[in-house]
Amino acid sequence: MARTFDAVSLEILWNRLINITDEAATALVRTSFSPVIREFHDYACALFDRRGRLVAHSTFTTPGLLGILPPVAKNLCAAFPPETLEPGDVLITNDPWLASGHLIDITVGAPIFRAGAIVGYCICVVHHLDIGGRMATLESRDIYEEGLKIPPSKLYRAGRESEDIVNFVRANVRAADKVVGDLRAQVAANHVAMQRLAEFLEDLGWDDYEDLAEAIIGRTDAAMREAIEKLPRGRYAHELFVERVHQSPEPIRLAVAVATGPDEITVDFTGTSEQVAQALNATLPITKSYTMYALKCLLNPAIPNNEGAFLPVRVEVPEGSILNARWPAPTWGRTIIIHYIPEVIFFALAEAVPDKVIGGSGSIPLWYGNMAGQRRDGRRFLTVIAHQGGLGATAAHDGVSCLSFPGNVSNIPVEIAESDAPILYERKALWPDSGGAGRHRGGLGQRIAIRIPEDDIGPGGPVVLGLRGGRSDYPIPGLFGGRPGARAEIRQNGEVMRSGRQLILEPGDLLECDIPGGGGRGAPGERPVEQVVEDVREGYVTAEAAAGEYGVIVDSGTGRRPEPAG
């Protein structure tokens, strides 16, 4: 007979499973090399049931992996059915169509055995430092240019590491030691998850945890449906445009129609642009990830994520669309497109749930660059540049300045970057007036300036920078009368550059990035005058903008309103 769980036991057991994935993540983070793991949390540690259904994942998992986890487990199970697996086997793949949408994310999974039978699976997905190929560029014409592809394979057989696979990886990637080190950290994280799950079952005296998985998935499914039920019924559509990136012929259209049914929700991206030649294409799993993320933020942010959350959500994307590209489309820079998914869904649903959505965000899409070159002594260096824009205003507060969204990436400290690479920051500062005006103001973006030094602290030659960001052509929209945030700009020695292009920076060059702010919310005229005055005093808004956008005259010298005449 199936076990049943009351409101107390389910809460406790459920949390123990999440705790197991967090303990695995602790092991991963603390043994990894890639800053993308430890600073960006661009990883997931997850537990699955015997059928490969997602039961729990680590708390700090990046939203981009949410929708990846359910299909990747099933795809690995399909490649390696239970009868082909034995204890100590470890599986690996980075196929963007089976897993997380670009080669640099590597999935490492393992069956969990108990008394000779598989009781579930654990998976650890990690964004690696390098996967070979042309490096961080949108200019690759197909997936083959983007690096090493690892088809579903056994990284370990019965506890023995496959030297062949490790050697293949080592031979194909830059920073091979670190990439292999991170792969091993993934294996270690899975090992922790397996051990803890075994202890968990031992404690309870269970042979498996199918009934618990069923209860967790069922309860989540029901909660999602209940939240959907509360939405005003209707079909809500919106579209937005993503600017032309380097070498692409035209802007990209993202169109969405969200239909809220009785207990289901359908998100239909029909009308979205076709896939493109540049490496901007998304595969279906990653599109689903960001769709689910947006819905969870609006519907039920507090519930833990698992297979049940996906059951009432239908995502429809025509094949060949930029959000469901056909193999072998290049995919490296798909975040440039998919980071807009939450925004297009928020704006579609703004009428249905006005109090939950936020204005457009300057941190969409992620600003990210890989910089590589040689030092004067011939050693190679590789560093990451990541600085984000401002968030859109909410119904109750100004947007937060300079905050990663919807990805979750922390910056590399200036002092660390300058110690690790021969570059010099000249500025990293809030950008006044970049947040859209409104009753609530958009968060501010920032201005970054990096010099490639010419003297002996500089590199031994030119530095290659694959930099992406966005929002140079279309305004970052406000909501309900709020004004748009400022637009982005990238300049090399003062000359405006298009995002997505690989830049060659010579010693002496200056790179400047104006990273935009978020959209405002509500009419600027409704903002209390004292808040405008305060913004001018603190320098978040200039006196000119206070007068022009808010109609509030403030003396920029004293930070006060002028005395009334007479």
Binding site: A7, S419, L430
Partner: protein, 683 residues
Amino acid sequence: MARYALGCDIGGTFTDFILVDLDTGETFVDKCLTTPDDPTRAVMEGVARLAGRRPGLVATLERVVHGTTLMINAIIERKGAATALVTTEGFRDIVEIGREKRYDVYDIWALFPRPLAPRRWRREVAERVYSDGRVLRPLDEEGARRELRTLAADGVESIAVSLLHAYANPVHEQALETLAREVAPGLFVSLSSDVLPEIREFERTSTTVANAYVKPIAARYLATLIEDLRRAGFRRRLHVMLSSGGVTSAETAQRYPVRVVESGPAGGATAGEFLARGLGAADLLAFDMGGTTAKCCVIIAGRASKTAECEVARIHRFKKGSGIPLKIPMVDLLEIGAGGGSIAHVSSLGLLEVGPDSAGAAPGPACYGRGGAAATVTDADLVLGYLNPDFFLGGEMGLDRDAAARAIGALARPLDLDILAAARGIHEVVTATMAASTKIHVAEKGRDMKTLTLLAFGGAGPVHAYGLARSLKLPRIVVPRAAGVIASLGFLVAPIAFDLVRTYKITVTLARAEAMGAAFEALERDGLAILEAPAAQARYIRTLDMRYVGQGYEVSVAAPPTLDPAALRKAFNAVYQALYGRTYDDVEIEILNLRVVASLPPMPFTWRAPAPAGGTAVKGQRDAWCLDTGRMVPHTVYGRAALAAGFTAPGPAIVEERESTTIIGSHATFAVDEAGSLHVRLA
């Protein structure tokens, strides 16, 4: 003539005192209401009360060690000094931009704390130092003077100076301090190269700004206290407890007040270290559960683990990342949003959740009868029979059992549970929450949980220790006496000690023993100057923060006797192996920081349990929930004051004292040791 030591801890509600006769070990405990408008008043009142019982006491005090929540409260309540930041041109917003990462992936509304130095008072000066310490651009002294003058004229009281790479070369920060003295002599100045000479500009600046923010308060407060004590006849130096578990002079605390923020919890951990010695060097999990949060600290081989960072003033449900980061040497405490006041609620999934929202002291749990209607952990503990409604705080405060049952009843209905099941659920869920976080915390230290003894204190600690020990499979619980003033005890047993750090970034291959030895010696000289003691008395512990090149976290490695590459590599590998189970010979290792703890030998200290109060040990019997048998069963109720050393009894039992209640399940026995501690053995 008798010689005494006095420990005094100013908390939010009470100021605690513990007085120990250094020759006989006789101990006296007292409490006064804290006087927030002028905290020295409560201190002096308590001292006067103790002196009233022992005339001439103040002149015989050998040591007074003081801890206070004054600094942390100033930061939490934003009542610090008018604080400015002076920084490198182009970087005044570093302290506001932070690390740009959200602390809650799904909460798109989550906010961040405003910096303690407002933007209008964050000023830039033209200058630049490079990561290797060389000056790329000289300091524009005229511009700096101008900015400092404006700030002083604007009413700024305290400035933080934090320049890029100042950890590598402090010359410009020091020049700015000189200029500040010249331009505005009344300004308090904190230099990042002095407060925290460590790489990573946001954390260093945040810490330096926090230091500046509380510096005038600390200076004034400690000066007043020193003067008041002197007038009362105190002839020694006043000492202050640091967050690191060390004690320092009041003068040093005035210079680095940010290091005092967590003095109370550090006292708890230090008391744990002391008690561990009395328990045959048992490895402990110190567990302190109060009204709003619980704190855990691992004590291995008699030493509390340390960390170099913490976060204060969290603005979002105790969530990590929602506070102000401080990099200060600190006892490594895990803080969980689970306390007696934590509120139980039904989640959107229809499950029972507890906390982190807390009813606090006002309105407090429903059973306090002060208007609180939400069901809290304390309400559940009352319904489960753990708390005695007529003996809370020794009977000073009656608890309303009906109000607790009503609050829990309202929660139980939608969950389809009866009141007892819901109360049990609250107790179990809050215990599971604490157990889960504790497991991760211990895992991060690479320790085996099952070897630890649970040391429980704080108001709610001994009530929940049994359930926690059960879920963590810990075999033994110890509940010390004076559990209500345990931090003050820690102040008295802590050594005089000071932690120093310097960034020294170099790969192991390039490291040279001589140069590194000289750098350590320089830190030790600075440490000795702060200890103000003869060189022969000082002890130094050298550690290195090390990592594989490219990693973002460092591990702490005890410095080997020789600092050559081979020895450094070996020392690092041993630590890494213990923590993570493997090492990589093919990856370069680097050193990031050198650390020294300079200390003096601890004061010899013993304390004696008071003779048991007369009367019978057994107060009666009460039905309470038994976690072992899963039902309400009669528990024997003991009055702790009447229990003599050597007393043993089986569970189920409840041991009551003024500040707390210890629960013992039916599958356990307990005993009282010579020091008066309760030892609970779980089956």
